[in-house]
């Protein structure tokens, strides 16, 4: 675009150049203020859930991670609540060996694949 020439009359939306500029600035500011919310990706939290049975003699046996925990999401508190709910209501009968315990390990890391942070939940069975 060429620069406006002196004396050239350009249109306005509201009848006043000053009002137009104010409106432009207001909408532009609203746009800038809301811009960070437009980012689709903020941070990655990679979470992996593992389950083990810990026998009375201390031996560990890896169990298959239940289907619903293979892509567990990224909210650790929510995952823990789901694990507790699973153990209360859906745990397979063969997980419940007397004297053993079930240990869930929730491993995670932020913006990396190292999975170097761990939360452990242990569910102890009644002794034989």
């Amino acid at each position: 675009l060429t620069p406006a020439r002196e004396g050239e009359r350009l249109p306005t939306a509201t009848g006043s150049r000053r009002r137009d500029l104010t409106l432009f600035a207001l909408v532009a500011l609203a746009l800038a203020a809301g811009a960070p919310r437009l980012a689709v990706y903020h941070r990655l939290r990679v979470v992996q859930v593992e389950v083990e049975r810990v026998h009375a003699d201390g031996a560990r046996e890896r169990l298959p991670t239940p289907e619903g925990f293979r892509r567990p999401g990224s909210d650790l508190d929510w995952i823990e609540r789901r694990i507790e709910d699973f153990m209360r209501r859906k745990a397979p009968a063969d997980w419940r060996a007397p004297g053993s315990a079930i240990e869930w390990r929730v491993r995670w890391s932020d913006d990396s694949l190292r999975l170097d942070q761990v939360r452990t939940l242990r569910f102890r069975e009644a002794p034989p």
Binding site: T2, L38, V40, Y41
Partner: protein, 278 residues
């Protein structure tokens, strides 16, 4: 304001382009703001308004009002008032979490569009003299900036080592259900081809960065649009996202329609086209 900035903001906008964008808005808004399947999840700041949603904003009556405003906008009946009414009607729906990003983007564009003096041209009952212009370009500039900010913010958010290494995409494919391809081994498998994830990640950032700036080079607008459409088409195969892609592509119209045609004519022909309409 410098003369160049003055023309950038206040040069007359092409009326036919404005009419086309108005009709496109009227067609797109109902789809973008569709209430079907919308779960009422509000951000903490808007929780106080929650009772109003089932009682008012998410009712068939409200939806009918949105459709009526869209019909008036499409026909060009008091287009600025119709666009403003549509903005007011859609505003409460923008707070509902679930596809809210695309609604925010479209709402800013709609707010800007409410200042465009598009006439009833292309409407079936159009009468009287046609406008020589659709008012100043600045509302269209806001829509253009809206699109560029969307891409720019997303490019910046991803421009860090973990993303560029491909770790983030690999992690997403392991943890997120909306990732439709398996990148867990660090590769995207396309038949016999195995594309490293870092290349995919870097390509995404470069594409979004280009889509934030490429539009401002007039000769690159159509190639940029082609790149954007290819990018969003490819993305649909990799990730299930709500409607942000479609909203972005819709806003390409702000660059692809020749809004500046009037500005070039005015700069060549002096005052003729700039002053002949109200």
């Amino acid at each position: 304001v410098s003369p160049r900035a003055e023309r950038w903001l206040f040069a007359p906008a092409d009326p036919q382009s404005a009419a086309l964008l108005r009709i496109a808005f009227a067609a797109f808004v109902p789809w973008c703001f569709a209430m079907e399947g919308l779960r009422l999840t509000l951000p903490a700041a808007a929780r106080a308004l929650e009772p109003l949603y089932p009682a008012l904003f998410l009712t068939r009556g409200w939806w009918a009002a949105i459709l009526a405003a869209c019909a008036l906008l499409a026909l060009g009946v008091r287009p600025r008032a119709s666009a403003a009414a549509l903005f007011a009607l859609c505003l409460p729906l923008a707070f509902v979490l679930q596809g809210e990003k695309s609604r925010h983007v479209l709402l800013v564009a709609l707010a800007a569009f409410a200042f465009v003096k598009s006439d009833a041209r292309l409407a079936p009952f159009a009468r009287g003299p046609r406008r020589a212009h659709a008012g100043p370009l600045w509302p269209i500039r806001l829509i253009q900036l809206d699109l560029c900010v969307l891409y720019g913010v997303n490019a910046l958010a991803k421009a860090h080592p973990a993303y560029l290494r491909g770790d983030v995409l690999t992690g997403f494919s392991i943890t997120r259900r909306n990732i439709l391809v398996d990148l867990s081994d660090g590769f995207l498998h396309l038949g016999p081809l195995a594309l490293p994830v870092w290349l995919l990640a870097a390509g995404t950032v470069a594409t979004e960065a280009w889509l934030a700036v490429g539009w401002w080079l007039p000769r690159m607008r159509w190639p940029t649009a082609a790149l954007g459409i290819a990018f969003h088409t490819g993305l649909r195969w990799v990730v299930a996202i709500h409607m942000l892609g479609a909203t972005s592509v819709f806003l390409y119209l702000a660059f692809l329609l020749p809004f500046e045609r009037g500005a070039y004519q005015a700069s060549r022909g002096g005052r003729s086209s700039a002053t002949s309409a109200s």
